[in-house]
């Protein structure tokens, strides 16, 4: 693999991971806010709401930027991905728009929290489920050729155990990411009831998500869909160690943000292993990375553009997710 190919892959994979994490936090916090609200845990519900408030738009931008990275760095796969993923992505967007509508109305109608909180929490939580079709289809599962063109085979997609393993991993992963981040804020504000609630959800989500991830790995290996690479074993080990440390940190008394960071490491390693095991294909078995890659003159502009922009943006975004909610809500009038 040439240097420019490697950079393009790292940027696209990094943006995918970035969206996965930011969306996991945002959507997971939305569902946990709903759960806390229904269990009348007012402190937990308030913290969840306060954490989402500054970050939702930033999360949304990363979905657009990831899509742009895919289209711009790998235009050779755009036509095929677009045709096959029309219905799954359109379904994910439907959930996303419904969530925004509920969010907009919640800004205006705090009195009608109950219904709007339910729609906001559940619609947001479900967004990643149809988007998982992206990963399944990229393994060559759930598509067919008709009249020489690739199309979605919805029946096979839904019948594949890999689809459901990934959906379970994603939906539970949102709870792990959202719960672990909210736990830090609950601890820093001295809210033990909220902290207990988030700790419980984070641990449950982490366990189920790890199970989904393990099932997906086993299914991929059984189908011969994992390409050998010297990177896989170290990444798998890193993911397991980070997972174990996360569980341990979630059980100590005042964990602040460390469990969130270790969960990030576990997910990052898992996603990196998934991506590497997928090589050299972008869209198995139809399009390889090299076939889909943009032309050198465009890459020479795009790769530095993405690189510089991400180097500038990621620290700012990290600060907004990790520290801004505490700065805001430590104000006396809040």
């Amino acid at each position: 693999m040439s240097g420019i190919q490697g950079y393009a892959l790292v940027i696209t994979g990094g943006l995918f991971a970035l969206y996965t994490v930011t969306a996991g936090v945002d959507f997971g916090a939305g569902l946990l806010g709903l759960a806390a609200f229904l269990r009348r845990n007012a402190a937990a519900a308030r913290i969840a709401e306060e954490v989402i408030a500054p970050v939702w738009e930033v999360t949304n931008v990363f979905l657009i930027i990831f899509t742009l990275a895919l289209v711009s760095l790998f235009p050779g796969a755009t036509g095929e991905f677009g045709d096959v993923l029309l219905l799954p992505v359109a379904t994910g967007l439907l959930f996303l728009v419904v969530r925004y509508m509920a969010f907009g109305l919640r800004e205006a109608f705090p009195a009608s929290h109950r219904v709007l909180a339910a729609v906001h929490g559940i619609a947001g939580w479900l967004v990643p489920a149809p988007l998982m079709a992206f990963l399944v289809v990229s393994e060559g599962i759930g598509m067919k050729r008709a009249a020489g063109l690739l199309q979605l085979d919805g029946g096979r997609l839904l019948a594949s155990p890999l689809t459901w393993a990934l959906v379970v991993a994603a939906l539970a992963g949102e709870l792990a990411l959202g719960g672990s981040l909210l736990l830090g804020f609950a601890v820093s504000r001295g809210e033990p009831a909220a902290a207990a609630c988030f700790r419980r959800w984070a641990l449950t989500g982490l366990a189920i998500s790890a199970g989904g991830g393990a099932a997906a790995t086993w299914l991929l290996a059984r189908s011969g869909l994992i390409q050998p690479s010297p990177w896989l074993a170290p990444l798998a080990l890193l993911a397991l160690v980070a997972l174990a440390v996360s569980v341990w940190l979630l059980t100590v008394a005042r964990p602040r943000r460390r469990p969130f960071v270790t969960i990030l490491i576990a997910y990052g390693a898992g996603l990196a292993a998934f991506g590497i095991s997928h090589l050299p294909y972008l869209f198995r078995p139809v399009i390889t990375v090299a076939q889909a890659l943009n032309d050198p003159p465009m890459l020479a502009v795009l790769v530095p553009t993405f690189g510089f922009a991400l180097v500038g943006a990621v620290p700012l975004v990290a600060w907004i997710y990790l520290y801004l909610p505490d700065r805001q809500f430590s104000r006396p009038e809040s």
């Binding site: 408030a53 500054p54 970050v55 738009e57 930033v58 949304n60 931008v61 990363f62 979905l63 657009i64 930027i65 899509t67 742009l68 289209v71 711009s72 790998f74 235009p75 050779g76 755009t78 036509g79 095929e80 677009g82 045709d83 096959v84 993923l85 029309l86 219905l87 359109a90 967007l93 439907l94 996303l96 728009v97 925004y100 509508m101 969010f103 907009g104 109305l105 800004e107 205006a108 109608f109 705090p110 009195a111 063109l149 979605l152 943009n294 032309d295 003159p297 465009m298 502009v301 795009l302 553009t305 993405f306 922009a309 943006a313 975004v317 907004i320 801004l324 700065r327 805001q328 009038e333």
Partner: protein, 471 residues
């Protein structure tokens, strides 16, 4: 399949754009007006202008929520409905979209920082936090328009065996249509936003509001917007001259000109009669060669008519009426805004506008937004049948996936719901945050009303010289 998908993709993309353009126009324009209000409030130590900035931010937040939804839809719709177009665009003109994504990220990040971290900062720091929001919004508008300009004047590549080659990304970005199109789009976005803000204040004054707060709101919006109305006429004229040189059949369709004509006259409105094969019912302006002059700067220049081009490349002629209506609204805005602005600039704070002036100003907001819609429909339909002018017809770019009618059946009601939600949320937000004059100081203040649990309470917020954003 292709014909059905093409019809659905056009309906869905057009509807998405039709809704999103409202949010996008206000999303680009409002940060600038808020910034101006902030700066003036700081310089004059004026609590009314500070309160005005805060109220405009409240509206902006609701528009950003729903605008983000429609913006995400249009962003991914391009990819889902037109994947073959995006495959070509990805090799040639994706750079402005990538830059726009990051401009949007800057805007979103600083909006979050401002709203949730800026309340206790000094005036200068608050304004400094708002500058990237304004710049990010304007840059987003500029960059996304360069992509549309590329679709009108493709540059920076050649097609070899149907695939782009010899690609120059910066040449594609700064194509021939970029200067005129971006200038016109940005100017009209700021003009429309200003007209809507001015109209909102005018409606309050027409309803009997007497406090200086409302006159200041109208004055600020009109003072900024009136020169923009003239600038919109100028940039529109330049865009027309570009069409005469580079997209003559589009100009012919917009002007309803069928025959190639020397010293072509300007004909307003009218329609195409299929029986006679002529444009009928239009109003011919008495100045000979006016269209030639407008298109080229010379009264006796020859303007190509649609018959000079194959019939299969004619845009739909309804664009002529849409275009004329848009231009007519543009001239109305110049008149209404300057009729309000000239006495305002002469008399300053003592200016008391009459009801006719206020009515004309109140109409300018919705008319300006109507002009934006008409202009975009005319511009996009005027490029038909091309997706990329002269290179890719729209049927070549559309998806081949089944299921587009299903997406349409779900999405079209969704857009209607999105608009309803926006209106309901805006009304509810301003009902919860009402304006009230403090009897002791005669100062306008915002009052927060919470009607939860059936026990309405009013809790006055701090008069808020600063701290723009308080829930």
């Amino acid at each position: 399949m292709v014909a059905r998908n093409l019809a659905w993709a056009r309906v869905l993309t057009g509807t998405t754009l039709g809704f999103h353009i409202i949010f996008a126009t206000l999303g680009v324009g409002m940060p600038l007006f808020i910034l101006i209000a902030m700066v003036l409030a700081a310089r004059r130590d004026d609590p009314d202008l500070a309160l005005l900035a805060r109220r405009w931010i409240r509206a902006l937040v609701i528009l950003v929520v729903t605008g983000a939804a429609s913006g995400t839809l249009i962003g991914l719709d391009l990819y889902l409905f037109w994947p073959r177009f995006m495959a070509v665009a990805g090799r040639v003109i994706i750079l402005p979209l990538v830059l726009e994504g990051f401009a949007f990220l800057v805007e979103a990040a600083f909006l979050a920082l401002y709203l949730y971290g800026g309340a206790h900062l000094s005036r200068g720091k608050q304004i400094a936090l708002w500058v990237p929001v304004t710049v990010g919004a304007g840059a987003s508008g500029y960059l996304i328009t360069t992509m549309n300009a590329f679709m009108n004047a493709p540059a920076g590549f050649v097609l070899r065996a149907g695939r782009p080659a010899d690609v120059h990304p910066w040449a594609a970005l700064f194509n021939l249509a970029t200067p005129t199109e971006t200038a016109h789009v940005l100017v009209t976005a700021y003009l429309t936003t200003g007209a809507i803000l001015a109209a909102t204040a005018a409606v309050s004054l027409l309803r009997g509001a007497r406090h200086a707060y409302f006159r200041k709101a109208a004055s600020l919006a009109v003072s900024v917007t009136a020169p923009l109305a003239l600038a919109a006429i100028y940039t529109g004229d330049q865009a027309g001259k570009f069409l005469a040189l580079h997209q003559p059949e589009k100009l012919a369709a917009l002007e309803g000109l069928l025959q190639t004509t020397r010293a072509a006259p300007e004909v307003l409105f009218g329609w195409f009669s299929a029986r006679s094969g002529q444009m009928v019912g239009g109003l011919r302006l008495p100045l000979p060669g006016l269209l030639s002059y407008l298109a080229t700067g010379r009264f006796h220049a020859t303007i190509l008519g649609l018959h000079a081009f194959p019939r299969s490349t004619w845009p739909p002629l309804v664009v002529h009426d849409l275009f004329d209506a848009m231009v007519g609204i543009g001239f109305y805005l110049v008149g209404a805004l300057f009729w309000y602005a000239i006495p305002l600039w002469r008399q300053g704070g003592s200016h008391r506008p009459g009801r006719l002036r206020l009515w004309l100003l109140a109409l300018s907001g919705p008319l300006a937004m109507l002009a934006i819609e008409l202009g975009w429909i005319a511009a996009e339909e005027g490029r038909q049948p091309w997706l990329i002018y002269g290179l890719m017809a729209d049927r070549q770019g559309v998806t081949t996936a089944p299921g587009l009618p299903l997406v349409g059946a779900v999405y079209l009601p969704l857009y209607v719901a999105l608009v309803v939600v926006t209106i309901v949320a805006l009304r509810a937000t301003f009902r919860r945050h009402r304006l009230r004059i403090d009897p002791a100081s005669d100062e306008m203040a915002e009052v927060y009303t919470d009607a939860r649990a059936g026990s309405p309470q009013s809790q006055p917020l701090a008069p808020g010289r600063w701290g723009w954003w308080q829930r």
